[in-house]
């Protein structure tokens, strides 16, 4: 890890060779001996220890082990899975994936999920954009109450809404459509998008708006031509988070669908049959649900904390 040592010095903007020595650091006046022990136990970026990287490494190993196990199982035959403990597939097979890609009821699960997730993403961001602009630029009657009310919907337990949603969408004949799930997920995604976008928009100086209006831009033209490019990363992050929370949610998606719009996560339960569990197939289906998230995460890696903090870090 010499590489890491070098990069650490560079990051600290310290002159070369001025790595913090151990002794003066522990001479802080008035710090009790007990705290000093804690201090020594706490390694910050290897200033005292060369093994700081062990912590994130061990954590990542802990994160990846169960995922590895799922991937491992997805390439095994059921005989091998049940037959004994093998750390990697001895007779690798693509049978499980072949079943998923050749059976419409399986691959339609993925298409259904992606369809309602995309509808939800577009609707949420589209309605959230003007609202977030209003919240970031203007004060109006009841603005704070409205902002708070939106937040309560992000925090509402889906379990509370499962039954009333079912009855509401039944009344409109929307059960088992992609629209129903997309609208239901708007419950928590629209507030999320408004909060995230508001956070990004507040970072854009108001003078830009005023200059544009003086230059004769109308509001819609200003918004699309000037403002949206300025907060493009914010729109991307909001879209990503809508995608994510719609993708991971199952309770509402399952309640509102029966056959035609059934999400993949619900289709997975079919692997339980009279002849026992088809573990390999279940694992393969699970692995395929990891891919969309893993692909898009790279693009938002620097903003992901901001997104989880609803645009406020």
């Amino acid at each position: 890890m010499t590489d890491a040592t070098a990069s650490r010095e560079a990051a600290g903007a310290l002159p070369p060779g001025s790595a913090l020595p151990d002794a003066p650091l522990n001479q802080g006046g008035g710090i009790r001996a007990g705290e000093d022990r804690v201090a020594r136990a706490m390694r910050r970026r290897g200033d005292e220890s060369r093994f700081w990287w062990l912590v994130p490494t061990l954590y990542i190993v802990f994160l990846l082990l169960p995922i590895y196990w799922l991937i491992n199982m997805s390439f095994k035959t059921n005989q091998e899975i049940i037959g004994g403990m093998t750390l990697f597939p001895h007779e690798p097979t693509l049978r499980n994936y072949r079943i998923i890609f050749s059976d419409p009821s399986w691959y339609w699960g993925y298409l259904n999920s992606i369809t309602y997730v995309l509808i939800n993403m577009v609707v949420s961001v589209a309605v959230a954009l003007p609202a977030a602009y209003a919240f970031s630029r203007y004060r109006f009657l009841g603005d704070k109450h409205l902002f708070f009310w939106l937040l309560t919907n992000r925090m509402a337990p889906p379990a509370v809404f499962a039954l009333p949603f079912f009855q509401l969408y039944s009344a409109f004949g929307l059960i088992d459509t992609h629209i129903a799930v997309a609208l239901a997920h708007c419950l928590f995604n629209v507030p999320l998008a408004v909060w995230i976008l508001e956070g990004f928009m507040s970072g854009v100086p108001k003078e830009i708006d005023e200059t544009a209006y003086i230059d004769g831009y109308s509001f819609p033209r200003f918004f699309v031509k000037i403002f949206m490019p300025l907060i493009a990363s914010g729109i991307g992050v909001a879209a990503f988070f809508c995608f994510m929370f719609s993708w991971v949610e199952l309770l509402l998606a399952r309640t509102l669908t029966t056959v035609n719009a059934k999400p993949i996560a619900a289709v997975m339960t079919r692997t339980v049959s009279a002849s026992g569990m088809d573990w390999g197939l279940l694992a393969a289906a699970g692995v395929l649900t990891l891919i969309p998230g893993a692909l898009v995460i790279w693009f938002v890696r620097n903003y992901i904390a901001k997104g989880f903090a609803l645009g406020r870090v």
């Binding site: 706490m42 937040l151 239901a184 649900t289």
Partner: protein, 295 residues
């Protein structure tokens, strides 16, 4: 930023208002309806007053689920917050390690919740799962479908696996916002590592940490899918949390009145917590604008 007073901004908010009203207010009215009425079928309803609320608040079932849920939230907070801080403090500071760590750590956050459940259900099985098999080989009698302690341990480790990264990411975001000048000043003053953490890093992480704690508390307070997939709320009722109990009551037994009353009580608690969260969040905004104003 100075905001100007303009009531026409309402037009910009209108689409959101209509959409969220449709997906939140209308369903909530249905819940309120059921909570105060009773039926003998045939779609005939009559006023039941507070009968359902009394029934729910008197039932030990509700309070037990509540106690389990609070215990669960407390345990995962006690584990995830210190662990998250520890990992964030030891994150690489620059170079290729940063994006690699961020992406790998965020991975569990993007897995559908029932797949998270499935992963741990498989991982913990003593016949085909690495964890369960290893533990049993080591002589630990581990079986999460039969033993209450094992079920709890599994559900908690699963949640730590699933959500600690959220705390890490938020703390990390707080840490990288600390200017290097702070560390250099601390060095000149001869501050100990503990002092650096206590007086520089922790105050800077304060807000994000508070956000992390509130988010984790609220999300764990309404957890449903993951424990449901792993344990189904069992063994017995050992891991039946509020949401699991509520869904069982509403969609399983179709006890609409009590389920609706319980929903409202549940929702009021969430509302209270949201208010705390909102106060914290808006204060963060104020502090942020003060900081940028000062520079």
């Amino acid at each position: 930023m100075e905001k100007s007073w303009n009531n026409r901004a309402w037009f910009l908010v209108l689409p959101v208002l209509v959409l969220v009203a449709f997906s939140a207010v209308v369903p909530l009215m249905t819940v309120v309806n059921y909570a105060f009425q009773d039926t003998f079928g045939n779609n005939e309803f009559f006023w039941a007053g507070t009968e359902w609320f009394e029934q729910v608040l008197d039932s030990s079932r509700f309070w037990e689920a509540m106690a389990r849920n609070l215990a669960f939230s407390a345990i995962i907070l006690l584990i995830e917050v210190p662990l998250g801080i520890l990992i964030a403090l030891n994150m690489p500071k620059s170079g290729w390690g940063v994006p690699v760590c961020l992406v790998l750590m965020a991975l569990p956050l993007l897995i559908p919740w029932n797949v998270v459940g499935t992963i741990w259900q498989v991982f913990g099985r003593s016949d085909i799962g690495l964890l369960g098999y290893t533990l049993n080989q080591l002589g630990v009698d581990y079986n999460y479908t039969r033993d209450t302690t094992d079920a709890w341990a599994t559900v908690i480790v699963m949640d730590v696996w699933h959500w600690t990264s959220l705390v890490v990411l938020l703390c990390y975001a707080g840490l990288v916002s600390i200017p290097d000048a702070y560390y250099q000043a601390a060095k000149i003053d001869g501050a100990s590592r503990w002092a650096v953490f206590r007086f520089i890093q922790l105050p800077k992480m304060n807000r994000v940490l508070l956000i992390a704690v509130l988010l984790r508390f609220m999300d764990s307070f309404m957890i449903y899918t993951e424990p449901f997939v792993v344990t189904g709320g069992g063994p017995g009722n050992a891991t039946t949390f509020l949401s699991i109990d509520l869904v069982k009551m509403a969609l399983g037994q179709f006890d609409l009145g009590p389920a609706a009353a319980m929903s409202l009580v549940y929702f009021l608690i969430i509302l209270l917590l949201s208010w705390v969260f909102y106060t914290v969040m808006t204060n963060v905004g104020v502090e942020r604008s003060n900081q940028s104003g000062g520079h």
